[in-house]
């Protein structure tokens, strides 16, 4: 049994499709109560990861526990306590919204129709509407309502914000934030909109080509990864620290990204006629710089 500190815990998880390793030795830890953003370029393995957690795919090697249950041996126990929303997931077009949520609710002994209908009514979706009459944003909300009615302890949002207009995105985000109010509820979210991730996530995992290259709290990540800019004498030699990324040099300026920042670094670069600037980076810039370095390393 895994301990209760982690809603998801995987150990050397590998999933192969033929010769392709969609997941390659992933050991991930999603703390209970976290909003965990699983990020990565297209094809990094994010959706495969989510599908293994739901036992929609069997791992090739390694193991995974969700809410203390082994995903392969106890898939029913897992699904009973997990809510799942996928990008543009197909819904039953001919059903009314209320029929759809009732239908999904029938699968769960602990279904609370109130939880689902309060999400719908808050955004003004009439339960009597046919699914096919819903806009893309309304569909996302309906899918979220259907995923929340059984009061899941873990919510898996796989690209659930992708392709939504700004209004619908805000509405989904707001619902996720309100859902977090439930004690100990955990959310794992994958997606491309990194600014949204930075808003709501407190933990981040980076997948690149099936490998989890980094896992951290957002605060630690932002404290460790910094952009350093040095103004210096023309054509001076600047000692770059080991592992400097995205180095840009012009005659009197050098900029680089470090993934291992400490106060000792700017001190070591300081000097007369020099000015050292340490900049906070957005999660988006952090992601791009680290992913590029990782992809380059993989290509070598």
């Amino acid at each position: 049994m895994s301990d209760n500190n982690f809603a998801i815990q995987t150990h050397s998880l590998t999933k192969r499709f033929g010769r392709v390793r969609a997941l390659n030795g992933v050991s991930a830890h999603v703390p209970t109560g976290a909003i965990y953003g699983l990020m990565g370029p297209n094809g990094a393995g994010k959706t495969t990861f989510v599908r293994v957690m739901l036992n929609l795919l069997n791992p090739t090697r390694g193991s995974a526990t969700v809410l203390g249950h082994d995903v392969v041996r106890e898939p029913v126990a897992v699904r009973r306590r997990v809510g799942h929303v996928a990008a543009l997931q197909p819904l039953w077009e001919w059903m009314k919204v209320s029929e759809f949520t009732d239908f999904v609710g029938g699968c769960y002994p602990q279904w609370d129709p109130e939880a689902a209908s309060s999400i719908l009514s808050h955004v003004g979706i009439d339960p009597e509407m046919k699914i096919q009459a819903l806009s893309r944003g309304q569909r996302a909300i309906a899918a979220l309502a259907a995923a929340m009615g059984h009061e899941p302890d873990l919510l898996l949002l796989d690209e659930a914000l992708t392709g939504l207009d700004p209004m619908a995105r805000r509405e989904v985000l707001r619902n996720v934030i309100e859902a977090m109010h439930a004690q100990g509820r955990t959310v794992l979210i994958t997606g491309q909109d990194i600014a949204d991730m930075e808003r709501i996530c407190d933990h981040i995992g980076f997948l690149v080509k099936g490998r989890l290259v980094l896992e951290s709290t957002l605060d630690d990540l932002k404290a460790k990864v910094k952009r350093i800019r040095v103004e210096h004498e023309r054509d001076a030699e600047i000692e770059l620290p080991a592992g400097a990324l995205e180095v840009e040099q012009s005659p009197a300026e050098t900029s680089f990204t470090t993934a291992d920042f400490s106060e000792a670094l700017p001190a070591s670069l300081a000097g007369p006629n020099r000015r050292v600037e340490v900049r906070d980076m957005s999660l988006e810039d952090i992601f791009v710089h680290l992913a590029q370095a990782e992809l380059r390393r993989g290509a070598e």
Binding site: I35, M180, S282
Partner: protein
């Protein structure tokens, strides 16, 4: 009272919210006894992680700017007015430092810099019509 947060600015969201709150107190936009939204309300309004808002409230309470009354909510502390003067100085010092670094980098001498600052100060006086 609260602006929106900008996740693209690089500044941690925790700091963005903290600074907005401190600034509002420094400018007298929030007075002792004013009630703040609940953690959940503010998180949903700004679309940020509730834990982030909770941490802002906790840290500002520790600093004496906020106080939590059990069962009632979070309020601007009685001492906040006394702290506002210090806050104003702290905020201005931070922004002037950035300007001072540019003054040195551009090679302006002290007299020219102060002269420029006096002129800008006059331009930005509230109520001046030609202010941009």
């Amino acid at each position: 009272m609260f602006d929106s947060v900008d996740p693209k600015s690089g500044l941690p969201i925790y700091l963005q919210i903290t600074e907005q709150l401190r600034r509002s107190v420094a400018a007298g936009l929030l007075l002792p006894g004013d009630q703040l939204p609940s953690v959940r309300e503010l998180a949903a309004r700004l679309l940020v992680n509730p834990n982030t808002v909770a941490k802002v409230y906790r840290d500002l309470e520790r600093d004496g700017l906020l106080e939590t009354r059990r069962g009632q909510g979070t309020f601007i502390a009685a001492d906040a007015a006394a702290m506002a003067e210090g806050e104003r100085r702290r905020l201005l010092t931070g922004e002037l430092r950035a300007v001072a670094r540019d003054v040195h980098a551009f090679g302006l001498d002290e007299e020219a810099a102060l002269d420029l600052f006096r002129r800008v100060l006059k331009d930005e006086q509230p109520g001046r019509k030609d202010r941009r």
